[in-house]
């Protein structure tokens, strides 16, 4: 296949923008081949809006934002009444952080297809991002479809908050999280408005929910945009889909995607690395082993590969081999807190408490917020009779008071008891039990109660 150094643009004619110039020779083969096919077709049928728009979609799929925008501009000029190109161009413009331009495109797109819900939501969001609060509020208020109500409530909350109307904002944000309880952004907005109203405790609780749900957003089905996102079937795109499947808990689907990606591109070392833990989660030890060897041979992300393999070996209770894998991970990355923690656990199983405590401490030094490692350090210090040191460490786990906290507080109680601080021990055990009950941890609460009974 002969490719020009730079794709030849169609000439601008009668105000119709030219096709974008794309330096295909600088692209890797998968992208070059995929884009070249669409580009050839668009060049051959340069006045065919469908061919030009299809080229634009391919560019968008490969995240060539500026080129995609140029191609969409030509497609729109050739077919001014086509909704699809205007809408997708608006999506590209939003990605380019040009919200005012995106809003203009969306307005025109909606003049063609007024009922396309994702476009209506995006228009309201674009106005908001462009600082046009009044227009945005009007657009959000006009969205009545239940699927878009969480996003509309969130948008109206942001507008109210920006205008200093925090009581109103709270109502909108509360409605957003009621409609979509995993709406991380709405919890953040809620926290800001609570704070503005002086409700700092409520704000902190909302921030805990924000931390829990992060970027989760209520999706509105968008078949037009899906026509772009499903265009790519190269190894890299399939790998990304596999990673998303893994994150969503679909282990089998993730394995299939990763294996497919490797068929497309056997040199995709990251796929081997990811498959170690995926096959580990599926308890397919031989396959995990196979991909571990492939990842190490490729020499890519070796610390993660060794760590994941250590976990796989641990799942098989092959503790000494797991310890060896963690040591190899640490030889590559001495700051790998997870490897230090897990190595500590293997040493603890071997009853080498001093060495285990040292590894847990290294884990905490590398990652002070790795609470499980600090908890393990505290336990080991208790086991070593260093109860005062254990108290120092375990006291750092008092906050936050989440579902993990009851066992940390229980450990703190134990350290106090062993140190002879009976009252403190009772206090923290009681606190641990109450918190355990609050989080539905009946078994732990019962165990704490038994200890409390013996202390009293």
């Amino acid at each position: 296949m002969a490719l020009a150094l730079v794709g030849t643009p169609a000439r601008a004619q009668d105000g119709v923008p030219p096709l974008p110039r794309v330096a295909l020779d600088t692209f890797p083969p998968a992208a070059r081949d995929a884009i070249a096919v669409a580009q050839r077709d668009a060049t051959a049928k340069s006045t065919d809006a469908g061919a030009v728009g299809a080229f634009a979609r391919v560019l968008q799929a490969w995240e060539q934002w500026d080129a995609a925008h140029e191609a969409y501009a030509r497609a729109q000029a050739l077919a001014p009444r086509a909704f699809e190109w205007r809408y997708l161009d608006a999506v590209v413009l939003q990605r380019l952080a040009r919200p005012a331009d995106a809003a203009a495109q969306l307005s025109q797109a909606l003049a063609i297809s007024p009922d396309y819900l994702p476009a209506r939501v995006k228009l309201a969001e674009a106005w908001l991002d462009a600082g046009e609060a009044e227009r945005s509020a009007g657009s959000f208020a006009a969205v009545s479809d239940p699927a878009a109500q969480p996003a509309a409530a969130f948008g109206l909350g942001r507008i109210a908050a920006a205008g200093g109307r925090h009581e109103e904002a709270v109502k909108q944000f509360e409605r957003a999280v009621e409609l979509f309880p995993e709406f991380g952004a709405a919890y953040y907005g809620l926290a800001q408005s609570y704070r503005a109203l002086g409700r700092r405790d409520d704000a902190r609780r909302a921030l805990e929910q924000h931390a829990r749900y992060g970027a989760r957003w209520p999706a509105v089905e968008d078949p037009v945009l899906a026509s772009v996102t499903t265009l790519r079937d190269d190894a890299g795109a399939i790998l990304q889909r596999g990673i998303k499947l893994a994150e969503s808990g679909d282990v089998e689907g993730a394995i299939t995607a990763h294996e497919t990606a490797l068929v497309r591109d056997p040199s995709l070392a990251q796929a081997h690395a990811n498959l170690i833990s995926l096959y580990g989660r599926a308890r397919n030890w031989p396959k995990a082993d196979e991909h571990y060897r492939a990842a190490v041979a490729a020499g890519v992300d070796v610390a993660s590969a060794q760590y994941d393999y250590g976990v796989v070996l641990g799942l098989q209770e092959r503790w000494s081999e797991a310890a060896e894998a963690y040591r190899k991970a640490l030889a590559v990355n001495p700051l790998h807190a997870g490897a230090h923690n897990n190595l500590g656990q293997t040493l603890e199983r071997a009853r080498d408490f001093t060495a285990a405590a040292a590894e847990y401490r290294r884990a905490v030094e590398s990652e002070p917020t790795l609470r499980i490692a600090r908890f393990n350090l505290g336990r080991m210090l208790i086991a070593l009779g260093r109860n005062e040191d254990a108290i120092v460490e375990l006291r750092k786990l008092i906050e936050p008071r989440d579902a993990e906290a009851p066992r940390y507080l229980f450990a703190l109680s134990t350290a106090h008891l062993r140190a002879g601080h009976r009252d403190e021990a009772v206090k923290w055990a009681t606190d641990a039990k109450d918190l355990a009950l609050q989080f539905g941890q009946a078994e732990l609460a019962a165990a704490i109660e038994r200890d409390l009974a013996s202390i009293r």
Partner: protein, 583 residues
């Protein structure tokens, strides 16, 4: 603490007073200025003058084709008057071959350039820099990242901290033009990938403590292979690695520091730290610390007055964007841009995110006003690093400079060497809203490079603020300010007698009739990997009259001076004003 009151002391230390001792006049001519010495309507606001003034330095990023993360991040610059001769010298941080480890014995070094600014007859002056690195003992060969400046031992000479991949190095200024590496003797150690740092007297004991931001747990051995959207090899996102915690070192006052990271609470939250700025964000008189993190929420460490800090970033509204998502934050400008008496934060982010403007209500509650202030749209296409508020036109409103450069391949530059080049940005503050003035900046703003560090100060002592910009894998740039000279100005240097000699952390207000008080904080931190002039610069607009200057010293006491003349540098010595004065 009772303070003796002395008469006002004016500008006696600095060599910029004209012979007659009155208001400083602008020089008639300069070798890097048009012959008229002024600026025509079409002439640029800034003239790039590094080579012409002997500032000869090129950063070496050591890129090997392995796409090691550290290659793209450096390096910084410090502007400080190391020899106390009244002009700003330049320290430039060097990278080098990345594989060589923490310390090398050969290859390029950091550089110190002494400013040999000379006053000639009729006010004519010449700016020239001399490389004094070897003589000063600053030929450091680490894979350097940034620089911080402060007088940690209270001897009246500014000391220097250099952050690096795998080490920090503290240089004590010996006061005789030389420096001594006292890292070990001072008890300092940070083997992580340190980036920006700040000297800050967080416990107000008169000894500057040290905050060091650290970035990621990246190492060459743990290098990952990452690709861009089209599948080409590219630098990884910071999400490919784990963030590592910052460190806080307490200055024990005896030449040694103690690592208080854990007891201070600083270890309780951390992200991929790149920028550090200090200020009193909640208005309680105690210094707080703001950290810009890459792809993780920024932190606002609020000082609890007992040696501990609590991160209130998320609650304050200055940690993430309006959707609650962290951004790729790099550089910080901290200052009162809207003249309401509280310190606001401008944070540079990665391309596509827009740069953030967090407006402070005076109590540490921030509103994300990037769109309202006109900063969102013009910054969307840039990846920003070094930045600061500075009043380039002396109109009394703090403007903005941003050094830009990508960290991932720019599609339009694909296939070219170093395809990460971007233009720098200049914003003019017009009553609290910003206008893109880059086009007026001149050719220096038309050139696309891989901008990283930026330090600010009046390098040629001509009454306006200049900028030194570093480029990753490229030459340093000296942007000399040539803005029209119709406005008046005042520069202040603060002195305390024994402790915290440069009054780092002091909050200084310039009062003018019929105008809001202009507030600035004495600090050298902020920006990205860089340290700026410890002196304060106030643009006064078209009126030269200053009603009074109010200083809130770092320990909270206030002092007030009247009869301050403008268009000159004034040294305010503690105890020479009216103690306890309000303002």
């Amino acid at each position: 603490m009772s303070l003796r009151v002395f008469p006002v002391v004016l500008a006696c230390a600095l060599l910029i007073l004209p012979p007659e001792g009155g208001s400083h006049k602008f020089p008639e001519s300069n070798p890097w200025l048009p012959p008229s010495g002024g600026r025509s309507a079409a002439s640029p606001l800034f003239v790039e003058s590094a080579a012409a003034t002997g500032l000869d330095f090129t950063h070496v990023n050591g890129a090997t084709g392995q796409y090691y993360m550290a290659e793209q991040m450096g390096a910084g610059v410090a502007l400080f008057d190391y020899d106390n001769d009244g002009d700003l010298d330049v320290f430039l941080v060097q990278g080098g071959p990345f594989d060589a480890g923490a310390r090398r014995t050969t290859g390029p070094t950091c550089k110190l350039f002494r400013n040999d600014l000379t006053d000639g007859p009729n006010g004519k002056r010449t700016l020239h820099f001399t490389d004094v690195t070897e003589r000063a003992g600053l030929a450091l060969r680490t894979y350097g990242m940034g620089a911080a400046v402060g007088d940690y031992n209270n001897d009246g000479y500014l000391d220097l901290l250099v952050t690096s991949f795998g080490a920090i190095t503290l240089y004590r200024n010996n006061g005789n033009g030389t420096f001594t590496d006292v890292t070990s003797a001072a008890g300092l150690s940070d083997p992580l990938w340190s980036t920006s740092a700040a000297f800050v007297d967080y416990d107000r004991d008169g000894h500057l403590d040290l905050f060091v931001a650290n970035y990621l747990d990246f190492s060459p051995a743990s290098n990952k292979v990452c690709h861009d959207a089209v599948g080409a090899r590219d630098y990884c996102s910071p999400r490919a690695y784990r963030p590592v915690p910052a460190r806080l070192f307490h200055n024990d006052g005896n030449g040694r520091f103690t690592d208080v990271t854990e007891p201070s609470g600083i270890a309780r939250a951390f992200g991929a730290g790149l920028g550090v700025a200090t200020g009193d964000y909640d208005g309680d008189g105690w210094p707080d610390v703001y950290v810009a993190n890459d792809a993780t929420p920024n932190q606002l460490w609020i000082n609890h007055h007992d040696g501990t800090f609590v991160d209130e970033g998320l609650l304050s509204g200055a940690a993430v964007n309006a959707a609650g998502n962290p951004e790729g934050s790099m550089g910080i400008a901290s200052g009162d841009f809207n003249r309401d008496g509280s310190e606001d934060l401008f944070v540079t982010n990665i391309i596509g995110e827009t740069f953030a403007l967090y407006v402070n209500d005076g109590h540490g509650n921030f509103e994300d006003a990037r769109t309202k202030a006109g900063l969102a749209a013009p910054t969307a296409a840039f990846t920003g690093f070094g930045t600061d508020w500075f009043d380039f036109d002396n109109d009394g409103w703090l403007d903005l400079f941003v050094a830009n450069g990508a960290v991932n391949i720019i599609d339009a530059q694909r296939g070219q060497p170093a395809p990460f080049r971007m233009k720098n940005l200049l914003f003019r503050n017009v009553g609290g809203r910003f206008q893109d003035a880059s086009a007026e900046g001149g050719p220096a703003f038309a050139r696309a490079e891989i901008g990283r560090g930026a330090a600010f100060g009046d390098i040629d002592n001509d009454g306006d603020v200049d900028v030194v910009v570093t480029n990753n894998g490229g030459p340093v740039r000296l942007l000399l300010n040539q803005a029209p000279r119709s406005n008046h100005w005042l520069a202040l240097k603060l002195e305390q007698p024994e402790k915290n000699r440069f009054a780092s952390g002091a909050w200084v207000g310039v009062e003018r009739t019929g105008e809001p008080t202009l507030w600035r904080r004495v600090r050298t931190d902020g920006s990205y990997l860089s340290a700026s002039d410890v002196r304060l610069h106030f643009g006064l607009g078209d009126s030269p009259t200053v009603t009074a200057v109010v200083v809130q010293w770092p320990d909270g006491t206030r002092e007030r001076w009247t009869s301050i003349k403008s268009d000159t540098v004034v040294t305010l010595k503690r105890g020479t004003g009216n103690a306890g004065a309000g303002g």
